[in-house]
Symmetry: D2
Subunit: 323 residues, 4 copies
């Protein structure tokens, strides 16, 4: 019997990606896709690439006859939705917003859904707080170091994101005439994902107490995040390489590349690639993900697979765009 899934907020970017994945997932039936503004309309009228793939329509009504509920709404709106709608306690929830990510929700049923950090907890969880896109990309670069207590000094992070990271709302910085062939910095040292990154690092290394200097950049591409990160580290190059290989050995989607990497190796997949180099006393890590997949909806489905005891890659063997 298939898993019955509901989606709240199906008209946005992450809702669309959720639909693109789930309509081909062999173990899932989509029970409903909620969108107030689009109720009654064909899903393929909004996500026009789905024409010919599904006759599904948006609905206005939440049904409780489901096994899992994906919340694909804006930050703050997930909490509001759960306050306004009592969800049957047998239903598992995966929230893609930031509303339940921080440790202040520890002790509740919410688990931070980064499989490379919390896979076993996720398997037994009820509610999953799906990580942020920058947070995923940066943590995957740093977790092996934190796990060995090797993060001693300041961490220097520059990461560039595609335009879909800012959602589909119209803004000056999302106008094609502005963004095409452009590059800019925003929220330097102050990005909201710093909190969840810090908490994860401290989960692995209680003594972690260094600065995370994070410069986010807006890139002129639609999908993907590339993070370039370094910090002081005494470990020799070979041991570092081995450390990363070992840490990600059992993980289905995160791989260590011996060669230099470029963003398009992961675009339109749920994979993350990390590449590690040693320069003097510094370890330098490049980490790449697709912000909408491993950084959002793909990871949410990976979490669903873990929650329901499915093979982790089911429905997520996505063809890379490659070009």
């Amino acid at each position: 019997m298939k898993i019955k899934a509901g989606i709240v907020g199906g008209a946005g970017y992450t809702g669309g990606e959720m639909l693109r994945i789930l309509i081909n997932h062999p173990a899932v039936d989509i029970s409903f896709v909620l969108s107030n503004s689009n109720a009654g309309n064909l899903v393929s009228d909004v996500h026009t690439d789905l024409l010919g793939d599904t006759d599904l329509r948006f609905s206005a009504e939440l049904s409780q006859d489901i096994d899992v509920l994906f919340l694909c709404v804006g930050h703050g709106d997930a909490k509001k939705f759960l306050l306004a709608n009592e969800i049957n306690p047998t239903i598992k929830i995966i929230d893609l917003s930031q509303d339940f990510r921080l440790k202040e929700h520890a002790g509740t049923a919410w688990v931070y859904g980064l499989p490379e950090l919390n896979r076993e907890k996720i398997r037994k969880a009820k509610y999953i707080a799906n990580p942020g896109c920058f947070a995923t990309c940066i943590q995957l670069a740093l977790l092996p170091l934190a796990a060995k207590g090797l993060l001693k000094g300041e961490v220097h992070i520059n990461a560039t994101t595609g335009s879909t990271g800012a959602g589909q709302s119209l803004a000056t910085t999302s106008h094609f005439s502005w963004r095409n062939n452009n590059l800019s910095v925003y929220k330097a040292f102050e990005h909201q994902h710093l909190n969840e990154i810090g908490e994860s690092l401290r989960q692995l290394d209680g003594a972690f107490n260094s600065s995370l200097n994070f410069i986010p950049q807006r890139g002129d591409f639609t999908r993907g995040i590339l993070a370039a990160i370094y910090t002081d580290c005494d470990l020799p190059a070979e041991e570092i390489e081995q450390l990363y290989e070992d840490y990600y050995a059992g993980h289905a989607f995160t791989h260590v590349s011996k060669k230099n990497i470029d963003l398009k190796q992961v675009v339109n997949t749920n994979k993350a690639l990390v590449h590690v180099e040693k320069h003097g006393n510094k370890i330098f890590i490049v980490s790449i993900i697709d912000n909408l997949l491993k950084g959002a909806s793909g990871q949410a489905v990976q979490n669903m697979n873990l929650l329901f005891g499915l093979e982790e890659r089911q429905g997520l063997a996505l063809k890379a765009a490659a070009f």
Copy 2:
């Protein structure tokens, strides 16, 4: 003594290009730049590339102490502006909107400002209706044929425009996530520029009576229009080449390329290039312009140069972006 210029609607794309050209024009002083929404603000706060180049501020007040007024406002708004504001009759006006382009304004003081069609009339004109961007690109491909009465059959036109052609308003089709790497058709057979193109062709060839089949496309670049055009034509290849060379011989900005052309040869310049080939009984013409320059503000300044007896290229020897 310099020409004193006023600009109405200085905060938009064509207003910005007007400013970029005029602040370096050796024969012009900018007297004011009107923008209701930005009155009092620095021009460089809106057109941020002008930081360091000008301390000009937007003003809210129209001054009549000018020699020329550029109207850089939306279609319909030029007419409204002139109804609401009586302009001193000594002031020449160049309107970039479509409000005064059609022949219904013939007999008035308005001249259609395509120098390759009307240069001598422009020199003596008082008011100039600056041509549309598609209209400029397409007419430059067809004028030499019309002038010789060679446009007998249907004309087939496919032309692709950059995103700045749609102005700076935010829209789904101007969102970077949508437009990047995308291509689409709009207003097939129904583009509003067909009227002004038809009138120009009939001005040269009163008998012109064929269909103009025009397919406009939205390209994923910011600047430029490339038109690919063909029609039946009996003239041999060499005569056609000569016809075009002769027609554009005295024109400063329109050149005939013997080799195939690509859009970036004219981007960020006021130039137009046309390339002509013969295939069987068909003449095939490729025509390229920068939609904001030869297709708007650059041509407006070219018209100003003609109106005031300046050398046609003054202030318009712009460095191509090239890449």
Copy 3:
């Protein structure tokens, strides 16, 4: 038992797409990937997006222990390969080059592999000549008209292709500094695909005898073809719409969109979308495909599915890139 597949020319663009599809195809095992220049190397060293997905290596040796052989080599090289290598007659062959597409190969075992034209013949075929990318896109726009004998006059075609259509060889026109934000025409009226298109139309309508005026353009995107096509047609709008709906009713990948379409609706999928409008006495058709998928490797796998009696969409339910 799975179908054993061999790939010749696995290091190019179409070979890479073949691999991206087949490693996830539930009914296929890849037996070998031939590449002389890369023999012994990991496939993921060349197609670096496959890191973590496959440990396959390129081989230098052709094995005959396969069920199907994909030829992903350059035009002319498929013929040479088959002359130099005798292939076991039980092995089915799918050739992605143009070497066996034309009717001169009729009466041989080769069938032109456009399922929307030849599905039943393909099911029973031994050797498949996979159609060209432009040819696929343009034929899908015209087949319903040809099938009803409605192609009476000249057909006007403007189609723009992504950079992967030109393969991975380095050339001035494939240099990023040249192609980015650029647009150009090439091979106007003379593209080599005109022959295969003409033959298909005559297969459906023996009397077809009109000109196909085809203007190919180089776009500044990597994947996809958009064709904008029109011709004279007396049929009323509703009947045309119905004609297209009927023609593609049973086809898994080609769909008729009632709304205007844009290229990214099909990028990274095996789908084709067509949209039809009536303007005066003209029918106007927009047709879109991904040149590497429905225009090459995806269609090759679709043909394989048909050859082996599999469900046509198996292994081809690809997630659109969408953005």
Copy 4:
């Protein structure tokens, strides 16, 4: 009387930009453009955007009847050229390669041509070693600090360059299909420009002895460099702002922006913009230039203006591409 200029290596990117600038420079006549591979050909056959602007042809012969010689050749080739060709001692030379940038050439006639560092020396110089593009962008961010001895700790630099930075040679990483929508790191911690940057900083602050941690990135745009830089600094925000304002007060092309900046503010101009913020005990600087202009040919002309006592901005009031 005009300055007579010769260009060696006129067929490359920087040679092309030199030509685009000099043909409009009111005080310069181009005497010859040397290109062995193109001798006899029209300049506009190679730099096709110059069609209609110049009838100049490439020549094979060096003439000594010039006032200034621009060397636009590859690294190493400038030295070779000067060894093979004795240049009349009255001729000033501006070399765009890295061959004479380092201090080992001190005491010779070569001056490092960064006007914001060496303007007075440049005025009196005979030979100018024009700075590297990354080096220019990064130094402009750091000079005011070095001048006050404020560079005490490690400096963290991430800078992304456009594709023209790598020249016009064809390479995998310059292929459109690879680079479009892509991002990657190269030469982390090891870029060759680190030497010239270090020397400039020590010229202003002999005690400067900190690490420059430099991560260069390849962006998917053609023109421009954006550098995001930070280091520890005790100075309060207002004093830092003032420090930068004061340092660049008299400089024609480098401006301090109070607001956040984006790359396209300087594309196709000779300007540099820097923006400074204070975050905790860190100073954060964003710096932008066009790599081919302020980072190469534009700065070379600026140096020529200084060498010949012209107004620094002559011929360099370039219209920004803006979009």
